[in-house]
Amino acid sequence: MNQSQPNATQLHFRGYDTKGFFDELIDEHDKPRPGAELLLQRIEELPDDELLQRQQMAERSLFHMGITFNVYEDNQGVEKIFPFDLVPRIVAAEEWNRLERGLKQRIRALNRFIDDIYHDQQIVKDNVVPEAILKSATSFRSQCIGLNPPNGIWCHITGTDLVRDKDGTIYVLEDNLRCPSGVSYVLQNRFVMKRSFPWLFDASHVRPVLDYPGRLFQLLEYLAPEGIESPTVAVLTPGVFNSAYYEHSFLAQQMGVELVEGRDLVIHDGFVCMRTTKGFQRVDVLYRRIDDDFIDPKAFRADSMLGVPGLMEAYRNGRVALANAPGTGIADDKVIYAYVEKMIKYYLNEDAIIPNVPTYVCYDDEQRAYVLANLDKLVVKAANEAGGYGMLIGPHATDDERRKFAGLIEENPRNYIAQPTLSLSRIPTIVKDKFEGRHVDLRPYILYGKDIFVLPGGLTRVALKKGSLVVNSSQGGGSKDTWVIGSSLQQTQTQEHSQ
């Protein structure tokens, strides 16, 4: 690209290969996609090594902020940052506005579904979701039957995974309605990017994300039991050894609320209280980052050391609000996921704006037969696994692995779904001293309170290994900043000339 402007930079996009994939920044004619013109041009104009230096500076800055995880192989105190790549993903306003509408539509329907499932189960009675699938869902929590969370909202904080296929279509891959993590990286990536490219931010009209903690706090305050004027909000974490601990601590700090562990809380006279230096102090709202199973040993797993005995009872009695409500995991079941488009139609009488990835439910005889006959083309996933585990990527698997999964599917068809292998879109990523395309997904964050807010942008996760489709940080993934460009194409060009 930019053939008209020969230059001597080391890092440029000449020779960058977009063949066979959808690239988020550069189209098939080697032209920048809408919104990416300025970024690509500026990157090419940077003098020798400048971009690499900024990349190193950005990494150092993350290191010094202590946004690291431990490498456990030795005890020499080795720590690493979560890999971060300086080339952002860009989403043009028009595309973003459609995604935002789609995400709001989807979360509204999912919330209705969860509420319905723990009350009348009308959707099952109307044969939209098969009763047998619901009955066999391991993430169904009978403890939640009849619960009425404040304002009827169950899933307050959601991080929906979106992916784009070769032809440019964006699909919802997963809904993540329990404790989605990663939003702290969105904010930290943005801090670092602003430091690295201040002029580019000025010119590009990137929509801000740094107001997220303020909005999250407003949402949590909104959930407080009635009659409490200035509620005490706290973030509940499993503790410092949890891999997302940094995020829990960061969010508590940014909101100016306490970060509590299970051992800091007791139920006192039916209320949830923190143990403080001045005695017991009541807590009204908990943003809990502990899974349902561990949150209350009296209600869920008795062997949990992380939770607060009696918390569910206090919740049921309206003495404390929990975000997210317990029980939302039912809609994260990958078999239930297959029915979300139908839910949207059923509850909202609308067509889904963002489609599901086409999904074969192995519980259905016909679909199972298709899956078993086409294992070499499909991705098979277990209903309740996450983080890239418990799955078969058919085209890359060996015969043995495929045979093993065929066996697993026959044994427990309810537990598996299959989807066509998508070829995830790519973004230029700094690999040593040049750009190579790496596969990405996108996780926008949705806050459901008085109204629904979608954080413009979200976490772009990138599979750093060549050819890899697995973007999870536990398996060699990194992240990028995501820029939703606010202004129109014309405005951007005007800005560019005046610089």
Binding site: H64, G66, G77, F250, D264, R275, T277
Partner: protein, 321 residues
């Protein structure tokens, strides 16, 4: 504030102060050994003795020498009392309360640990003085950042409490060890060597100039008075206990001169004892005995703080006065 958070902030400060004092300990011994005839390794043994972990030392290092004691107290990863381990513990405490302290405090402590960890990989240099200076400066920087970026409420008072109680204990130990090594040479009293050694002790707590302003001539008795019962010098035990006293009452809100809990009772008693002592009385008891009992009482205060604010059963806070 959360009891767990109070505890971590208190220990974060204590560990930073402990690392600083270890650097002072080792640094002063290096300096003093340069003035002594070759082969006088006994003061390195005294440092090991002061650490209270002779057994561990003998098992891992054998006979104390300048090199192995420095390694032991500075970079030993396995030994929880080394500078490296203290800075690491300070950082881990800070990490668990990152949301409660200012991000500047965390970032400086994180940076501090990264540097010490890197230095540990590089090993001890020929002239470690620069490194010990770095440790002291980093600790001062941390205190400065704490004072200038951290709201001075309850949490801040817990951090100050931890710092000054640790400092009182360590000043008493530096004095104890050096008095012990210096005193036997009665013949040296009043000689230039003696003067050099006592000024080194004062320098080790950054007190040389302040002492000079107040007392001019150096005598062991005056040095003891300066380090134990001076009210103005920030590393003197009396000053530290006074500061702890003010913070403790700021935390609980009880009027000074009264007590609502076991921590206040013990600290108040200790403060009065120091306030109404003279150097002559202290020397008459025996300095070592006096300092030993002081350290026990300081431990009692620490334990009282734990019982009152951390492991607290609110219905029972005053039960064991």
């Amino acid at each position: 504030m959360l009891s767990r958070v109070a505890d971590s902030i208190y220990w974060m400060s204590r560990y930073v102060e402990r690392a600083e004092n270890l650097a002072r300990f080792v640094d002063v011994t290096h300096n003093m050994s340069l003035d002594l005839p070759p082969g006088s390794d006994q003061q390195w043994g005294a440092l090991v003795y002061a650490s209270g972990d002779q057994e561990y030392f003998e098992e891992h290092y054998g006979e104390p020498t300048r090199e192995n004691v420095t390694q032991f107290l500075t970079f030993d990863r396995e030994y929880s009392g080394s500078i490296l381990s203290c800075v690491q513990a300070a950082r881990e405490n800070a990490r668990s309360v990152r949301e409660s302290i200012s991000s500047q405090m965390w970032e400086q402590l994180n940076q501090f640990y990264i540097s010490v960890n890197d230095a540990a990989k590089a090993g001890i240099s020929e002239s470690p003085n620069d490194f010990f200076q770095y440790i002291k400066n980093s600790s001062h920087l941390f205190v400065g950042i704490t004072v200038t970026t951290f709201s001075q409420g309850e949490a801040w008072h817990f951090s100050r409490l931890g710092r000054v109680l640790e400092r009182a204990d360590k000043t008493s130990r530096i004095l104890d060890v050096k008095y012990f090594t210096l005193l036997p040479s009665v013949a040296d009293v009043g000689t230039p060597i003696d003067d050099l050694q006592w000024s080194a002790v004062l320098r080790s707590v950054s007190g040389f100039e302040m002492y000079r302003k107040k007392h001019h001539g150096i005598t062991p008795k005056r040095v003891v008075g300066f380090l134990v019962i001076d009210r103005q010098f920030p590393r003197a035990i009396m000053h530290c206990v006074d500061t702890a006293y003010r913070s403790l009452h700021a935390i609980s809100g009880s009027p000074q001169g009264t007590f609502w809990n076991v921590a206040e009772k013990r600290l108040g008693q200790l403060r009065s004892e120091l306030a109404y002592s003279t150097v002559d009385e202290i020397i008459a008891v025996g300095l070592h005995e006096f300092l030993d009992s002081l350290q026990t009482k300081l431990n009692g205060v620490g334990e009282g703080i734990y019982r009152t604010f951390i492991a607290m059963d609110p219905d029972d806070a005053n039960a064991n006065l």
